[in-house]
């Protein structure tokens, strides 16, 4: 028996068995580790929603994203984009896109909310990805002042310090954030739609994101304190307004004063 064991250890098969065992161990260990991160967000969607979403996808989205959402030359693969991407793109009317251009435009929403949720459910079922935000992130209970600082450092170079938007290269642009809901701000940060980079939780922590959302919502709801804000576009608009209305008006007054004497 002892001899047998010794022989078995020396057998060429034993090396293969050890490697096999090692592989199984690390493989299942890795699977378990990764599963634990994605399994943390249990799917909030029902099988019926997934089914409906699939049908809506085939009739509305498949022409660009491919029948299995594998992506085509006209649209990217949707594996791993998560429910958050679907909600952001479809709820703001950007998807389905009207025309191909440098950037998808915001337009009237094309689907009812249950349909959007169903499509999100189906896309989320394809592969793990960013999920819809929970209410806690959107409650706007963060620190607006800190959010403003984080916003100016991370976002203002494209979106402008007041969130009035700005130009990017080749017809692309960072949209104004003056009318954006808390959920869409959150979804944009975690999914990086169009030309926006992804701000993962290691770039901006959940607390940072909550602060930014709180700040932007505070800016939106605050009335313009000094009077009409002229679109909040800064000195260019102020200069134009002054030339046209102030100086223009005063020139008309000088003409009136000059004409009186005749």
């Amino acid at each position: 028996m002892k001899q047998n064991l010794k022989n078995a250890r020396r057998s060429p098969w034993s090396a293969i068995a050890v490697i096999l065992a090692g592989l199984i161990l690390t493989g299942s260990g890795f699977a378990a580790a990764t599963a634990s991160t994605s399994a943390a967000s249990e799917s909030p969607y029902t099988a019926g929603q997934v089914e409906q979403g699939h049908k809506l996808f085939l009739s509305n989205c498949a022409s660009c994203h491919g029948k299995n959402a594998e992506g085509t030359a006209n649209g990217p693969s949707l594996y791993g984009v998560g429910a958050a991407s679907v909600l952001f793109q479809v709820e703001t009317g950007r998807m389905p896109g009207a025309i191909s251009g440098p950037q998808l435009e915001v337009k009237p929403v094309q689907f009812k909310q249950p349909e959007i949720d169903a499509m999100a459910a189906w896309v989320a079922s394809l592969a793990p990805g960013p999920a819809a935000p929970t209410a806690a992130y959107l409650a706007q209970k963060g620190d607006a002042s800190r959010g403003g600082q984080i916003f100016r450092i991370n976002c203002a170079m494209c979106h402008n310090a007041v969130g009035a938007g700005g130009a990017l290269t080749g017809g692309k642009y960072a949209p104004a954030l003056t009318n954006t809901s808390a959920a869409h701000i959150y979804e944009a940060m975690i999914t990086g739609p169009q030309n926006m980079p992804v701000f993962s939780n290691s770039d901006l922590t959940l607390a940072d994101k909550t602060d930014i959302i709180t700040y932007l919502q505070a800016v939106q709801t605050n009335p313009s304190i000094g009077g009409f804000d002229l679109g909040n576009l800064g000195p260019v608009v102020e200069g134009l307004f002054m030339w046209i209305f102030m100086l223009g008006g005063l020139v008309l007054i000088t003409m009136w004063l000059g004409a009186k004497s005749n």
């Binding site: 403003g148 700005g166 017809g171 313009s224």
Partner: protein
């Protein structure tokens, strides 16, 4: 004066005071000279007044702001009433600007009054300069006053920029950073100057206090001195007037200062003040609380200077950005130097234009009757080209806003403006010159053959003609009263030589006056009338 004491008894308090002053400082003499000074009446003569009055508003509102503004860059933690900044780190300068806006009674209104009137001051001065340019009011004897006015315009820009930078918010800090970059782009001395100005590496901790000294002392004092010189010279030269019957180079036709213009100008001051207050009370300007305190790390999209610095920012944006040359270990930043040189050169040409034109035309006479722009086609065309050049540079400062608001590509907007900067001034020159010459020909036509009356008459043999009505003498005066300049020929000097200078001048002169329409002479007028007795 012998009956002064009697008068004071008769006239009561007012006459008494007048008499008291007259006996001590000679008020009557001053009033007699100044009060009887005649000014001509035209709306375009009031543009400079708009600038003057907005400067007075600037002084008043600025004094109010100095009571509460603290020009220090000491870091503090904000603890005022504005929620979205609570607990934020900022400089004392920024915090005091926020406090002026939210906690000082009337502070926000005064800030907005100050900022709107600053924009208006420079704009009104610029428009006034354009009026002076296009009517040729800068000609002898007013060349020096043109320079003084130009200095006022530049001082206005300097005052505006230093003020723009004081609140130490993100927008103004970004603007200062651009200035810092431009200074550092100057070869050899640039880095030294930047270091001296900011007291070390940007942003340092002293720049706001330094700009504040310039903004509230040096620049306004200089502006006041130059305004005094400017107005004093208007008194010395007397005002120009537009041509018309009885208006000559040796007289001024108009109304006296007292009482007509004292009342008019006084009223106009309150109108200007009122317009500024109305706008400042209803439209927000530079809402600094939105921008946050300055911190060198964030740069905001859509960062622009106030309009009067826009043409320099535009020059910076329109210059191709890769123009950097390495000379050994040194970088020559042509992408920064070219826009600076273009901007400065443009201003120098504006300042020296009266002297350039006087040299080219060889006109040494005094001029007090203004030109109609059409009667100086080349000058008007040069002016139009300059305005277009400036406007394209100015639009260049807003490339990003043009791109986003009109849904165009930023790159294509930039490229179009780069092309426009070269092509449009040339086109403006040609079109304006042709327009001016055509208008002159039309004037000739009207003088010689009268105005179209719109009355169609059928002649006995069946022909239809329109009746032309002869214009009256006064209108005709305005249409024929201009000088027929001729190109100067290059003539040999005392030694019998034609100098290169003379040749250049001759060619410049023929460029100015080769294409010209001569005014109608009395002989032509007589001839035209004698052979056109019948309808034509």
């Amino acid at each position: 004066m012998t009956t002064a004491s009697e008068n004071s008894k008769k006239g009561g308090f007012l006459a008494g005071t007048a008499n008291y002053l007259d006996e001590r400082v000679g008020v009557a003499g001053i009033l007699k000279t100044f009060g009887r000074k005649v000014f001509p009446d035209h709306w375009s003569f009031m543009l400079g007044e708009v600038a003057l009055y907005s400067f007075l508003v600037l002084l008043l509102s600025g004094t109010f702001l100095t009571f509460f503004f603290q020009p220090a860059m000491t870091p503090v933690i904000y603890d005022g009433i504005y929620g979205p900044l609570k607990g934020a780190h900022m400089s004392v300068a920024y915090a005091s600007t926020i406090d002026i806006s939210f906690e000082v009674r009337g502070g926000l209104l005064m800030r907005q009054v100050h900022h709107w009137s600053a924009l208006l001051f420079v704009a009104a001065a610029g428009l006034h300069m354009l009026r002076v340019f296009f009517t040729g009011a800068f000609r002898k004897p007013r060349e020096i006053n043109w320079i003084v006015g130009f200095a006022l315009f530049v001082l206005g820009m300097a005052g505006g920029f230093t003020g723009y930078s004081l609140p130490d918010d993100l927008l103004s800090g970004n603007g200062l950073r651009i200035i810092d970059g431009m200074i550092k782009g100057v070869p050899v001395i640039g880095t030294w100057i930047s270091s001296l100005l900011f007291g070390g590496e940007f942003p340092g901790d002293g720049i706001v206090a330094r700009l504040y000294s310039l903004h509230i002392m040096l620049i306004p004092a200089l502006i006041l001195v130059f305004i005094a010189i400017h107005l004093f010279m208007v008194v010395i030269h007397k005002h120009t007037h537009y041509s018309g019957a009885g208006k000559r180079d040796d007289n001024v036709v108009g109304y006296p200062l007292a009482p007509v213009y004292v009342a008019k100008a006084g009223g106009f001051f309150f109108i200007v003040f009122g317009v500024i207050m109305l706008v400042a009370a209803t439209f927000t300007i530079n809402p600094v609380w939105n921008y946050g305190g300055y911190d060198p790390s964030p740069v905001s999209a859509g960062t622009q200077p106030d309009w009067y610095i826009g043409f320099l920012d535009g020059a910076l944006r329109l210059t191709p950005s890769h123009l950097e040359v390495m000379l050994g270990n040194y970088t020559l930043s042509l992408n920064v130097l070219i826009p600076m040189i273009v901007g400065v050169l443009f201003l120098v040409v504006v300042a020296l234009y009266p002297f350039l034109e006087a040299w080219v035309t060889g006109d040494k006479r005094e001029h007090h009757v203004l030109d109609r722009p059409r009667n100086a086609p080349t000058r008007t065309a040069i002016g139009a080209a300059g305005v277009v050049f400036y406007a394209v540079l100015w639009a260049g400062a807003a490339t990003d806003l043009i791109a986003t608001n009109f849904k165009m590509s930023l790159n294509q907007v930039l490229l179009s403006l780069q092309i426009a900067l070269i092509v449009l001034p040339i086109a403006a020159y040609i079109v304006t010159k042709r327009l001016a010459l055509s208008l002159q020909r039309k004037d000739r036509e009207i003088v010689l053959h009268g105005r179209e009356s719109g009355r169609i008459v059928r002649l006995p043999h069946g022909e239809y003609v329109e009746v032309h009505e002869e214009i009256d003498e006064y209108t005709r005066y305005k249409l024929v009263d201009f000088v027929n300049y001729q190109p100067i020929l290059a003539r040999p000097n005392a030694r019998g030589k034609i100098t290169i200078r003379g040749r250049i001048r001759a060619s410049m002169s023929s460029w100015f006056f080769e294409d010209r329409v001569t005014p109608v002479t009395p002989a032509e007028l007589k001839a035209a009338h004698s052979d056109t007795k019948e309808l034509h």
